[in-house]
């Protein structure tokens, strides 16, 4: 029995190709039924995410199975997709790397493991998997867990928004009741605010020199817009300030902030200064309870986290290699016992 993997991902195909091949949740049952009907193919799992569409199949004749998958996809999408394909043992290794987040756009991200688990569960429920793929996917989940716990591949955040969310968590813990203020509705501040909202922040106040822009952003992220002249009135209740105005001079100075901090009764304040030139005087970081991060410090943390993750790749690959060897051993033993039964 061979294990075949065929698909496209963000390394080889742009989004306009990936979106044509993508399989929506409600289509997966039908796609699995069609793929399983391909001659020489006995088991199948379809993994479809925003960055990849991959078919895993157990087959006694991988060439025929690959031709069948190609033909089916061409008929389905009306185009010849630039599929990559791997046979045993590279297909096994590929799945282990995918599940572990080593093949992801953001190295070490963990969302992919949930997506692979979901894809396997759907295929198993549809009766599209049997002994070989069941064992393969269970092993993949174990490998991903080992990689995550035995290495630092998931360590730290690797984007400015994710770093900001991580730091907010280290200051406030639960973000559910925290109030965020955006000063200056820039693209990065918007992304950062969205990251914070995704982690539970309920109240976002947007203030911009152009009120319409503030109102538009507030409407998009479910916040509240205020006039730029009034931001200081709302400030005492704010926990996180994201600043990215185009002002040539600091908007938040130590002199201005010091009396405001006294009204906060010891509550910490996390300031994310994304503006260049900076909106917040660096000396503000010396105030009690104020944690100021500018764009450089956030990017530096993200870069360091990425560097840590990259240094871990070798360690991850060693874990994966050893698990691939174990799985091939099992596959051979399974084939041997099948031949002699």
């Amino acid at each position: 029995m061979n294990i075949l993997c065929a698909g496209i991902n963000h390394h080889i195909a742009p989004v306009d190709v990936r979106e044509r091949l993508a399989v929506a949740n409600h289509e997966i049952g039908e796609v699995l039924r069609r793929v399983k009907a391909i001659d020489g193919l006995t088991e199948a799992v379809v993994v479809s995410t925003c960055n990849r569409v991959e078919f895993y199949a157990a087959s006694i004749c991988p060439e025929r199975a690959l031709d069948g998958i190609r033909g089916y996809l061409e008929a389905r999408t009306g185009m010849q997709a630039p599929l990559y394909h791997h046979d045993t043992p590279r297909s096994i290794r590929h799945l282990f790397r995918v599940a572990s987040g080593l093949d992801s756009m953001v190295l070490g991200e963990t969302e992919i493991l949930g997506q692979v688990k979901q894809a396997y569960a759907v295929a198993a429920d549809a009766g599209a998997t049997s002994r070989t793929l069941n064992r393969l996917f269970q092993n993949a989940f174990r490998v991903a867990k080992s990689v995550r716990t035995e290495t630092r591949i998931t360590r730290g955040a690797t984007s400015v928004g994710a770093v900001a969310v991580e730091l907010a968590g280290k200051i406030f813990g639960d973000l559910n009741h925290r109030r965020v203020m955006i000063l200056g509705a820039g693209e990065t501040s918007e992304r950062t605010a969205r990251s914070l909202v995704s982690r539970g922040v309920k109240t976002v106040i947007v203030s911009n020199r152009t009120f319409d822009r503030a109102a538009a952003l507030a409407a998009e992220i479910g916040g509240m817009a205020i006039h730029f002249d009034h931001w200081q009135n709302e400030f005492p209740d704010v926990d996180i300030l994201i600043s990215s105005t185009a002002a040539p001079h600091p908007v938040v100075t130590r002199e201005r902030l010091e009396p405001m901090m006294r009204q906060r009764a010891g509550r910490p304040l996390f300031i994310i200064d994304l503006a260049v030139p900076r909106d917040v005087e660096p000396s503000v970081n010396r105030l009690e309870g104020v944690f100021l991060y500018d764009i450089d410090s956030l990017q530096e943390i993200a870069s360091r986290s990425l560097a840590v993750r990259q240094r871990e790749i070798e360690h991850c690959e060693r874990i994966i290699d050893s698990q691939v060897t174990d799985f091939i051993g099992w596959l051979r033993r399974a084939q041997h016992s099948l031949a002699h039964s």
């Binding site: 280290k170 200051i171 813990g173 309870g289 943390i301």
Partner: protein, 259 residues
């Protein structure tokens, strides 16, 4: 023979501390049950020692400085075992283990296990003394939460991203736990003083002065914490400093004979 229980307990605390240090150093630290289990086993050994010693002296085993140090170490671990899992405070065990280990080693290697300085036969006096030391245990753990707060605050202020930053709890949580432990310790100490008054306990002026001084310091710290007169960082620092002072006055409080 009974001292072997303390050696075994020390080994458990050392194991807990060493395991965390190694895991942090190698970047593989995960909040798990190992620390909690090692601390719980160490606590069990200490309990066995205190039980045997209690039988031997025929009273609560706080009759000399040696026993007081062991009892204090036991109290800190007791409070940790209650607070640690409840608040899911990652790394608190790692910060607690060196303190309790130091107290045990001090007890084991200092010539303080003399004959009983005082024998407590009045149950109110026994209750007063035992509860006072448990209150010190709560203050000890408040000091540990304070140290963790200061370390985490320093990491966040200096933009230093290390294993510690990732594994220490959020500073807001540490500040809250610090405040709750201070309140717990203060209530216990106040009740213990009440028990002392109920027992009509007569002690030296130095002992009374030292005890009231520590009680007043913690009371003042608690008031400014509750009224938010000072930032949480200063409360954290205050809880560490006052606990050090309390430890220094411990011999005078526990070792001076009852008049």
């Amino acid at each position: 023979m009974e001292r072997y229980w303390l050696v075994a307990a020390s080994f458990c605390f050392l194991l807990s501390f060493g395991h965390t240090l190694f895991a942090l150093g190698s970047g593989t630290f995960r909040p798990g049950r190992f620390n909690l289990a090692a601390m719980a086993v160490g606590f069990a050994f200490e309990t066995v020692f205190l039980f045997q010693r209690g039988h031997l002296v025929g009273a609560c085993p706080i009759t000399n400085l040696f026993e007081v140090l062991v009892f204090l170490s036991w109290s800190i671990v007791l409070i940790y075992l209650i607070v640690g899992p409840a608040y899911r405070l990652s790394l608190m065990g790692a910060f607690t283990s060196p303190l309790v280990l130091a107290l045990l080693l001090l007890a084991l290697f200092s010539p303080v296990d003399a004959t009983a300085v005082r024998i407590l036969h009045n149950p109110w006096v026994e209750f007063h003394a035992a509860l006072s030391i448990i209150a010190y245990g709560a203050f000890g753990l408040a000091a540990i939460a304070g140290v963790m707060y200061l370390v985490q605050e320093r990491q966040l202020k200096s933009h230093r991203v290390s294993e510690l930053l990732f594994n220490l709890p959020p500073i807001t949580d540490l500040g809250a736990v610090n405040g709750r432990l201070l309140a717990t310790g203060f209530i216990l100490l106040t009740v213990a003083f009440g028990a002392g008054l109920a027992a009509d306990l007569r002690v030296t002026n130095l002992k009374t002065g030292a005890s009231v001084f520590i009680w007043a310091l913690y009371g003042a710290l608690l008031v400014v914490e509750r009224l938010r007169f000072v930032p949480p960082r200063r409360i954290a620092a205050g809880s560490v400093i006052i606990f050090v002072v309390a430890l220094l006055t411990l011999p005078s409080v526990s070792h001076l004979p009852v008049e």
